[in-house]
Assembly symmetry: C2
Homo-oligomer: 120 residues x 2
């Protein structure tokens, strides 16, 4: 759904300075614009292989259902990798993929800035 690319900036581009077209970003940006997505990537990047419970503790106030959905989304987008161990009680670890690492390098300075902006 929502498949109506082009036309947008191309149409406006003629009268603009130099917009490089940010519109059909679709997938990736839509994913990052879901709640906690960016923080999640940075947290997994920071604590390395991270268990579900560890991640849940790091955030104060995510519902487990949302966290679970978000993790699934990021795994499906191949930003995170999920490894499940056949143990009882169960153990699951999340890690950044190579794509995730790249992304994390762009997100880290943003989150650091946001952190500072919060105080000031």
């Amino acid at each position: 759904m929502s498949d109506t690319p082009d036309s947008a900036v191309d149409g406006a581009g003629s009268s603009n300075t130099d917009v490089d077209c940010f519109c059909p970003l679709g997938g990736v940006m839509d994913l990052l614009s879901r709640r906690y997505a960016m923080q999640l990537i940075c947290v997994v990047g920071a604590i390395g292989p991270a268990r579900y419970g560890e991640i849940e503790e790091t955030f104060d106030g995510v519902s487990s259902s949302t966290l679970s959905t978000r993790l699934d989304d990021l795994v499906e987008a191949e930003i995170l990798a999920r490894e499940q161990y056949a143990e009882i009680p169960p153990r699951v670890e999340y890690e950044l993929t190579d794509t995730g690492e790249e992304l994390c390098q762009h997100l880290d300075p943003l989150l650091k800035w946001a952190e500072k902006a919060q105080e000031g």
Copy 2:
């Protein structure tokens, strides 16, 4: 609401490597996590003083109500500045504030990356 700070990373921190605490980012990140917020900032940054209609054309598929809400959010957060001219038909221009400029500098590489990730 949702007032239960600390306890989170502080509790997990003892067993972690070196998470710098990304959780109480609250405001800024929550705002950026709303739909089109990041793209909006970069678009205004790119075309300078931007009129509502110009912005609307740039995005292909935002509803005017959401765009309007998002602009209000960003103005209230002092990331965008809104200037209204007493003309008929009305003219309104949006521009980045200094905070917005800073933010835009962090977002630009992210969006550029996302753009590339989309193709690959």
